[in-house]
């Protein structure tokens, strides 16, 4: 019993500690402190290297990117929020540093058009299926029509014989 209780307390303290850890992390957001590597990566992940083609800033190996990551660390320790840093990078180096394209202006087309295409696609599927239903029987040489006519022929012949 005593053992159970101790375990329970242990469990509770772990849970509490984990809550506390979470609150510590969120408290760091936007407050001066000592940013960890993980904080820097969290911001850098949302950015692309301004000079190399198609390389996310968090994994880019160049010296320039190392400097940019150091800059993010500085800005974090000065109390900048993630969004402020991202905005700063956009004003400095242009829209191309954003991993996720914006949803405004001309760029919003990149998001918008696939949606339109999917909707049109669904419409086309429906139309195709409907039109296929309408054209009742398009008989061509390859359709298994001969089998049916054979049965029919036999039936007719039988009927003729019966009549006769």
């Amino acid at each position: 019993m005593q053992n159970m209780k101790r375990k329970f307390i242990l469990l509770l303290s772990i849970i509490l500690a984990s809550f506390f850890a979470v609150s510590v992390v969120s408290a760091q957001d936007g407050q001066p402190g000592d940013p960890t590597d993980n904080d820097v990566i969290r911001v850098a992940k949302q950015l692309y290297c301004p000079v190399c083609p198609n390389t996310p800033l968090d994994v880019c190996e160049t010296k320039a990117c190392e400097d940019w990551r150091a800059q993010i660390r500085d800005q974090l320790s000065q109390g900048w929020t993630d969004q402020q840093i991202i905005d700063y990078f956009v004003t400095q180096y242009g829209e191309r540093v954003l991993a996720e394209p914006q949803r405004k202006g001309f760029t919003s087309l990149v998001w918008f058009l696939p949606l339109v295409v999917v909707l049109i696609g669904i419409g086309i599927v429906f139309e195709i299926l409907k039109s296929w239903r309408k054209q009742k029987t398009v008989t061509t040489a390859a359709s298994p029509a001969p089998e049916i006519s054979k049965d029919l022929l036999e039936k007719i012949e039988r009927e003729i014989r019966e009549l006769g």
Binding site: T36, D37, N38, I41, Y48, P53, N54, P56, V59, E61, G94, E95, R96, V97, L98, A99, E100, P101, Q102, G105, F106, T107, L109, V110, W111, L113, P114, V117, V118, G121, I122, I124, V125, I128, L129, W132, R133, K134, Q135, K136, T137, V138, T140, A142, S143, P144, E147
Partner: protein, 685 residues
């Protein structure tokens, strides 16, 4: 001397393929068999004529003939013999030559094997395939010639590349070459590029037959589909293998803990795979029901054009910068050829539209036919989304002048739901009968997999309180998995009761008797396993980075990494290695010693990260050495805990296995495989 032989052979190959192209179309048009036969012989001769330059290049790479600019670029004395040979496809000149050679070889095989069978189509098969071959051989000869030599012109600061000696110049023979990009110096070099090329070029065969069928009007009969079924599967499986090996290579070498980054080059390869997969399915509709003939044509045109487009993107780098486009003549030449191929084949399709009428009509919205149309549309929608995201930066730069990046968040968000729908359809569609299906019988077939998967998802969701989407995803894979396994179970049970076979014999015979159907199911099984890996990668990845001193520990996701010491030593291929010795433990006992490395290629001044990986079916712990202090007493590590990632590779192997079973030749039934069989229409549950 050797290089000259290669160059001469290449030139003759170009003339012969040009001749074959025009002789075949003339012979076909005028009905002159002699011309067609002559074109065939010329096309067959192109194979050895291209083999000679390939051998010459490989030999020059192997023996360090640095007087050739290409050898100087991609080979070096420090590289192993294996890499020197693989350097054939390590640079632009060599890879285009390799491509042309593969394509010529495929055409040659088809001309040998199918000559007697498809006489009517042959003139135009030769025309279409040799037109493409001529283009590629022409590109090798005139634009990116691998036999260019280095020359030093008096007074010039830089070396000149030219085939023949320019005036007032001296031949230049460097001591050593630059060698391959360090990232390419990997075992993956032997797997990913050739398989990708086999996949890309392989689609030329079904494309050429489709075009020939349209041109001759033979498209009314669907012979071309039957002739090229194996070729299509061949191209498709190699493209699949190429994709998976590429992912594996990226995982091992690029050092970001993932296997797919939605990079333009990756997307360029995914697009023909998507449309090719749609083509494989719509072809089945034609074989079984004589429907979707127009789709087949449109899809093979799209697939082949996208294969060319993929090569275009990879070889010109046009997506990352518009300016790369006109740097060499390669970009404009490719662009014109793709446009010509695409528009030309669409025009032919338009002219023959009326030969492609459906032979049957749709009987019900709940039918295999409807499911096929839906899945084709979904594949096209994903293809469009990937295409749009890939080219949008280019469009944005051209229209507004602003460079933008379309990164993974776009692709994940847009294609995610579509892929989800496709996988779901993969679970349901095989249970739906051809022609029509009563909702009740479908419900009967589906309730068990559905209930089982709900149970699995519920239990799992209750024990791991993760992102809701992850529970949804796991339900999906559990559902499709159990639906496929239930099909096998039903088949085995049927054989057991009717023929009294033991379960293993029953399974063996079941697959053997209907290898296309069950091979297809096994391919689907592979896809589900890959989907499982992708879901693990999307929702359960954990990562951390930190600097620790010797004896200290960095932990993430229940694993602890202890840094023990740092070693430095010289390695092969001209690299300096810094290696961290670490031990990985999971809540106590040490489970594995890991040695993440950083290889610095001195000549190229380029570092390559070699991760230390502890790999199990459930989880990969992927450790990278990021940096260290000068004394080596502390180091920075990045640790990824990648859940389920191994299922991507396992799924790939299952897919290959399934394709082998599906294409298995069954000599006894060979003649009847392709006939519209009445029993096919009724045998479904």
């Amino acid at each position: 001397m050797l290089a000259e032989i290669g160059l001469i052979s290449l030139t003759i190959a170009f003339i012969f393929s040009l001749y074959a192209t025009f002789a075949s179309v003339y012979g076909g048009w005028r009905g002159r068999l002699l011309w067609v036969e002559s074109a065939r012989n010329a096309a067959l001769l192109v194979v050895p004529l291209l083999t000679i330059p390939v051998i010459v290049i490989v030999y020059s790479l192997y023996t360090f003939d640095f007087s050739l600019a290409y050898v100087y670029d991609v080979s070096s004395r420090a590289m192993s013999p294996f890499l020197r040979v693989a350097a054939l496809w390590g640079g632009q000149q060599g890879s285009v030559l390799f491509w042309a050679w593969l394509m010529a070889a495929f055409v040659g095989i088809v001309l040998l094997r199918k000559w007697d069978r498809d006489r009517e189509l042959m003139p135009y098969v030769i025309f279409v395939s040799m037109l493409t071959t001529t283009f590629f051989v022409g590109v090798v000869l005139f634009i990116t010639n691998p036999f260019m030599r280095l020359w030093h012109i008096e007074g010039a600061a830089e070396l000149t590349q030219a085939l023949f000696q320019p005036l007032t110049s001296m031949p230049y023979l460097p001591e050593d070459g630059n060698g391959l990009n360090p990232l390419l110096r990997h075992f993956g070099m032997i797997g990913h590029p050739p398989t990708t090329y086999l996949g890309f070029t392989g689609f030329v065969i079904p494309f050429a037959f489709a075009m020939a069928a349209l041109i001759t009007g033979q498209s009314r009969r669907d012979e071309w589909i039957l002739t090229t079924r194996r070729w299509t599967l061949f191209a498709w499986i190699f493209l699949s293998i190429g994709l998976i090996l590429g992912g594996r290579w990226a995982y091992d070498v690029l050092g970001w803990g993932g296997f797919w980054g939605w990079d333009p080059v990756e997307n360029a390869m995914l697009m023909p795979w998507l449309t090719g997969t749609a083509f494989l399915h719509s072809v089945m509709m034609t074989e079984k029901r004589g429907m979707m003939k127009k789709w087949n044509m449109a899809l093979i045109i799209l697939t082949y054009s996208l294969s060319l487009f993929g090569t275009f993107i990879t070889r010109t780098g046009v997506i990352s910068s518009v300016h790369a486009f006109a740097k060499t003549a390669l970009g404009p030449a490719f662009f014109a050829f793709i446009g010509f191929t695409f528009l030309g084949s669409l025009t032919i399709l338009y002219l023959r539209w009326d030969t492609l009428k459906s032979e049957h009509s749709l009987e019900s919205f709940i039918s295999r036919e409807a499911a096929f149309v839906l899945q084709n549309m979904l594949f096209l929608a994903v293809t469009f989304a990937v295409f749009w995201g890939t080219v949008f930066p280019l469009i944005s730069e051209l229209v507004t002048g602003t460079k933008i990046t379309v990164g993974p968040p776009y692709f994940q968000r847009v294609t995610g739901p579509l892929f989800f729908a496709l996988v779901l359809l993969m679970g349901i569609a095989p249970l739906v009968a051809w022609r029509k299906q009563a909702a009740r019988t479908l419900g009967k077939a589906i309730w068990f997999p559905f209930a089982a998967s709900l149970g699995i998802a519920a239990i799992w969701g209750a024990s791991h309180r993760m992102h809701p989407a992850s529970i949804f995803g796991l339900w999906l894979v559990a559902f499709v998995l159990s639906a496929i396994l239930a099909e096998f179970w039903k088949g085995v049970q049927a054989r057991r009761t009717t023929r009294n076979e033991n379960p293993f014999t029953a399974l063996f015979n079941l697959i053997g008797r209907n290898h296309r159907r069950y091979g297809g199911y096994i391919i689907h099984l592979g896809v589900v396993l890959i989907a499982t890996g992708v879901i693990g990668d999307a929702y359960f990845k954990q990562e951390t980075q930190g600097t620790i001193s010797q004896g200290e520990v960095l932990s993430v996701g229940g694993y602890q990494l202890e840094f023990r010491e740092l070693l430095g030593y010289p390695g092969s291929d001209g690299r300096q290695i810094v290696e961290a010795v670490t031990s990985l433990s999971q809540d106590g006992p040490i489970i594995r010693e890991l040695t993440p490395r950083r290889d610095y290629f001195v000549v190229q001044e380029q570092p390559v990260t070699v991760p230390g990986v502890y790999s199990t079916p459930g989880v990969d712990v992927y450790v990278m050495l990021i940096g260290w202090d000068d004394l080596g007493t502390s180091a920075t590590f990045k640790i990824y805990v990648n859940s389920l990632i191994n299922w991507v590779w396992i799924g790939g192997i299952v897919m290959i296995l399934g394709t082998m079973i599906a294409t298995w030749s069954n000599p006894a039934r060979r003649e009847t495989t392709y006939v519209l069989k009445p029993e096919v229409l009724t045998s479904q549950p």
